[in-house]
Assembly symmetry: D3
Homo-oligomer: 132 residues x 6
């Protein structure tokens, strides 16, 4: 179980409940994931993390699906079990097809391989890559 | 300098030169990056890595720019200096604007933060995320 | 189950038993954690790891609680499930309150985020940080 | 050089300048580190990251020096060159002695070693560590 | 369960079945591991990954057992649960004794410790190590 | 420069000098690497780290060259610049040929790729891998 268990909606303070409400409204769902319910023992971190997530994942120069796949790619690279499961679900809800998932994973695998080859062979950065 | 230095085009075997030619033709450039020139001391790994990269990064369910940004996101998350420099350049060449770069980095930062919060709080995966 | 299972006290050699005894005496408990019982199949590594841990975690310029929270922070950052669970317990036993735990995690999350932003933006080290 | 170079104070927008001013006032210094000047090309991320840092690193259940050492420990564990340099400097300014630095590093090294031993030996979490 | 479940032999396309057959023939076993059955939803990645693995892990300048232990060492260092379990089994089948396993883990632990000490103390590379 | 600079032989205490002497005698060289000279500001960590390294890297069930390549593999996987440089040199001195180096790197790359595929696809451990 999560270190301090979960703060369920009914047991939450008005402050936490307002964040839960905003999560559900923003995502158009009627539930809140375990991640948020575990963080809710620390309302300051819950609020900061949710506000940041909402800002960062909103539509901008990149659309929300691309952002969600970037999130998934980093989570798979970091091998965070919870995050892989939740962001796979989130990305699929936003339109990631099975074929897209496979391609995300293929890139993640490839990047992890070549990152180590570049470091292992001690490759210097090409001058042309240094110019902004 | 890279562990065994670089294999320059003029000094390359026909086998390696053919791969360099394919890299340049595929990318429509007249140069080959240091990464490939460092790997060329091992033609089998050079060939395998290039063939894989060409296959994985080609247009498919995801377009090449999205793939390049996923590659960059993983490289930034892994903190591989060479890969960040080269894939930032590659993504910009494929159309990544400065605004898009900022959003890629914002997601990378956010994902790295929340990956640790999820693990640190020992959050169990929600049942709803377990169904394929 | 652990790769070679656990070496229980009753089945342990005198050499291993002496280390178990020292672990229990040092920590003032009557049990030994699974980590040590899994390592005990290799008495040399068991002894080296315990001796090092005992030395490193002892009171010094930093008090044991701060050290335990540093250990927890690294374990959460590395996403080691076993280590997060065991060092959360150890830190709480040494006086880490729930509020302190939350702050440890907030710093871990923040550091993981900014580590990637610093690398992703290829930020050079300020001259002023280079002077010892 | 950082991917987009640095935004110097004189060239900054009022929005960015206000953040620089707050960084300097909070830290009681007359300069801003390269990290912030590289982020300033994206004022939203600059603001969010600074606001979060200010909140997370403020005195609370843990004092600022302990927080700074936790930050340094994570940065050393992640091997982020910029972050190690800047947070070593920051921690020393807040009172970290050389002896304290050595102990932070000893714990970081030890935790990284045992994290892998715990994972490599596939050690199950002790039942006693599962109770909140 | 794996994200898309497993592709069992009887339900596989001829293309996937041919790869399964090659895996079993190469390894002289009559079963295929879950890893391959999860990847099989993406036949291109299944084929590329298997072909690469077969090439990389074949006898060469290093014998297959040493390669398998290198694979295990990296997997333990990355804390990939599936990979630790499968490559421990694979290495034992190829002749890794219990004593050899312990020594692999001892090196993995030690390297993870000293990697962070080298980074944390910001140690410059010795000139003598820079000459190829 | 390393955080506290280097402790040169002539300026070292007898305690540190004895460790330097043992490093040189064990390795049959007349110099000490920067890593040790940076650690020497903390004689306790210098001694512990050297004693552990000497024990772990000594000939046992695995020969020293295999151990050195395992160390290199982990260091490349962790992307520790100093460690890659120093352990490439150390392994070559112990007999690693260029062909062997290439194969070490190929395995490191491959393992890093498949580690993420296994995690990204959320593959469960096969029952057959769970039996010790």
């Amino acid at each position: 179980m999560a270190t301090f268990g979960f703060v369920q909606y009914d047991a939450a303070t008005p402050e936490v409940r307002a964040i839960y409400d905003d999560i559900m409204a923003t995502r158009k769902v009627d539930w809140v994931g375990n991640f948020w319910k575990a963080l809710a023992h620390d309302p300051a971190t819950l609020k900061r993390t949710w506000d940041d997530t909402k800002q960062v994942m909103a539509s901008g120069a990149l659309d929300p699906l691309v952002k969600e796949m970037l999130y998934l790619a980093v989570s798979a690279s970091n091998q965070c079990g919870y995050c892989i499961a939740s962001h796979t679900a989130a990305a699929r809800k936003k339109g990631m097809t099975e074929a897209m998932f496979h391609e995300v994973m293929a890139v993640v695998g490839m990047a992890n391989e070549t990152n180590r080859l570049a470091s292992g062979y001690q490759v210097e950065i090409d001058e042309r890559f240094k110019t902004p």
